[in-house]
Symmetry: C2
Subunit: 438 residues, 2 copies
């Protein structure tokens, strides 16, 4: 495989290309890296390659002509190259892309400097614009080295033990398990027993489970595209059951009415059904209906009887599965005591409120909290929202849900609950289904 | 600022540190980079730093002792360093982190090779584990260069024109606008007129708008954390209106019943309200209720009258805003003709189906489609789902929504609609609210 690097600092690459496995692969001719000086394609005697940007501003950018001439010269040689421009505005480079690119015969890696390159070259004479990450560098040179290394690992023979490449982080869409070497005990820290057991199957299972666990904890977003076996999915389900101890409470008292006065709201049938089905889908442990009014409680009890053991149960067994998560309580205290009895600790209270009272958690932070293993009770208000006395007890708040156009914020509690649960758990849902994409 | 790099290949860094602005900053003493050979901290005469992993497998990993001795030696010197281990399992390095790290006096960058380092060093003797991206390299050396460059840009004086750093991609959470230099016309491609106008304010506005536009197109995920002015938000709203031409249809005929037979379903009041409020929140253009039955249509018409011009309108003006998006049609054809009349082209049909018939779009692909500027009609089924004759007309399918535990898939259409709209548009919602986090 051939890499042509186009740069104004060809000397940048001298030492990195001599080192380690990459150096060896170049010596052995498995890879060929040719570094070209963009200045060789300038036409004036000062070998100028940059100019000031139209419209003003500090800094310089690469002129179109030398770039065009250089790319034309490189394209004229066989085999036909794939031209990559490295810039922070590009598509994000990743493991999968590295593997795809390793199937090409020849890559041109164009390294920008200063303010970048003239837009016309980028738009019309480059095949692909890639970014190695969300940060800014002095130039594309180090990014070219990154792409070169990540792609070269996939070229057969470059990494001696190909098994290593297959076990790399991301190779199966997971982060890698921890590794230990001698001594067995170092400053009081021991190597896990299983690794010393000599039981190959147990070691493999331990490694796979640690991989899954680390990925679940640090990068659950990777799970959706990971290659997972039925055993992996079963392990992740168990991990979910252990780590996500999420409860939901739909509060009918105390809430506020349109005028901001404290009231008890009456029951809406579809709140029972929709949110129970949602709770079942997202693995919520119990869905509390907080309702102190006796007549209202009687209605809910009657409905639950109908669906859980009456005619509704025979007609619709899927509904039974959802509605058996519902627990009718008289007040928030009763729900808290119930959770404490089951979990051995009080849950953290996570509240939703259309009016932001305190800095809310970001959705990422809230999702981490829910995956952390602490019991969490998500409070949803009916009517015009939770009363101040409930809000003041919340440990954390979620961001209100706004659309793209304005601050219109009048979703039904059923919609809000759906969106909130999906945002909190999206990264760890869906991977059980087996619809893995490759 | 001081960088200590710990590596088994100190020679790797020779040439990159001599080049460009980084080379100049080192010469001028603005930065100090010291490269340490891990082998100097080995104790045997072969200067061994690696060993085989417990539990078997190919490849070697760094032993704990030399690493420990090296890190202790580095920590013993003032000023106290922040120790970073570079690995694909780490927290993702980005622009914001680069800026934070630039405030430290001294960083130690530990470069792994082979299978990495002994877990005990990682877990107990390192302050932070960082990854520069989702790919695997030959070693941490190139990652250390990336971190060094990205952090160094923030050290005062290193980049001559500090204005450049402030205008970098990500500096305000956006991708950078395109840049042009001479000639004004290159191979028929012209520099945009505005950049030649000499009107500084217009140039600035053009650049800002292109930045917003490129970020909206390529990396809408960045918008949520970007620093946006009221003008930026207004521009993004316009962009949303132009690019997201999304319609929704809730189909009551033809759908299937529990036995799979084709039926017309009856109307559910909360489908009208919940999904209209959702449509309003997410900027859907029209929400079609597809219902051919005359008696059912009469009910819907009566309800719409009550809420749009009757007592409901006075009582709840927010509901008016939502319900005026509702259009009652007799069949799917009527909705399609209506969209075509408004948009000048037929919409793409995006269907949801619990039973996957064809490979569905990933959520990312579907979100791109919705942002692409093509009109899209999202079809939602009532009862037991859309009839085959509707499904067969769909251009694309969405993935079914499963939870983390199993394939339980019995969400209400109200919940499903909420989750789908949020997944399709989450990246471009919420940034209007002004709750930008810094």
């Amino acid at each position: 495989m051939i890499f042509d690097i186009l740069t104004i600092f060809p000397e940048y690459f001298e030492s990195p290309l001599r080192v380690g496995l990459l150096g060896k692969a170049l010596e052995r001719g498995l890879l060929k890296v040719r570094v070209h000086n963009l200045r060789d394609f300038a036409t004036d005697k000062h070998r100028t390659v940059d100019d000031k940007p139209f419209g003003g501003g500090e800094g310089m950018l690469f002129k179109p002509e030398p770039l065009y001439r250089a790319l034309e010269a490189l394209r004229a040689e066989p085999p036909s190259p794939w031209v990559i421009y490295l810039s922070p505005q590009g598509r994000r480079f990743n493991h999968r892309l590295a593997r795809e690119l390793s199937r090409k015969e020849r890559l041109v890696l164009l390294c920008g400097r200063y303010e970048g390159i003239d837009e016309r070259i980028r738009a019309h004479f480059v095949d692909e614009e890639l970014s190695i990450g969300d940060y800014v560098l002095f130039g594309g040179e180090v990014a070219a080295l990154v792409v070169l290394e990540a792609v070269a690992r996939w070229v057969p023979g470059v990494v001696g033990c190909e098994d290593s490449v297959k076990r790399d982080s991301f190779a199966e869409g997971l982060l890698k398990h921890p590794q230990y070497t001698r001594p067995r005990e170092f400053l009081g820290y021991r190597v896990p027993e299983v690794l010393l057991s000599g039981d190959h199957a147990r070691v493999e299972r331990w490694r796979r489970e640690r991989s899954l666990e680390i990925t679940f904890e640090r990068r659950p977003d990777l799970l959706r595209e990971a290659r997972l076996s039925p055993e992996d999915r079963a392990f992740l389900r168990e991990l979910f059951r252990k780590r996500v101890r999420l409860y939901l409470a739909l509060v009918h008292y105390p809430v506020i009415n349109k005028e901001g006065r404290k009231i008890a709201s009456s029951f809406t049938n579809l709140d029972l059904h929709d949110i129970a089905r949602l709770a079942r889908t997202y693995g919520v442990r119990i869905y509390y209906l907080v309702q102190p009014l006796a007549d209202q409680r009687a209605i809910v009890e009657e409905l639950l009887r109908f669906w859980l053991s009456g005619p509704g149960a025979r007609h619709n067994p899927d509904r039974v599965e959802a509605l058996k998560l519902v627990k009718l309580v008289r007040g928030l205290e009763e729900a808290l005591a119930d959770i404490e009895a089951a979990e051995g600790e009080r849950p953290l209270l996570l509240a939703t409120d259309a009016q932001v009272k305190r800095p809310p958690l970001s959705w990422e932070e809230a999702a981490c909290l829910v995956r952390s293993g602490r019991p969490v009770l998500l409070l949803l208000g009916t009517a015009w929202g939770l009363a101040p006395e409930v809000l003041s007890r919340a440990d954390y708040f979620l961001e209100p849900i706004f659309g793209p156009l304005d601050e219109y914020n009048h979703l039904s509690v059923r919609s809000a609950a759906s969106i909130i649960l999906d945002r909190l758990l999206r990264e760890v849902v869906g991977h059980v289904s087996g619809h893995t994409r490759d």
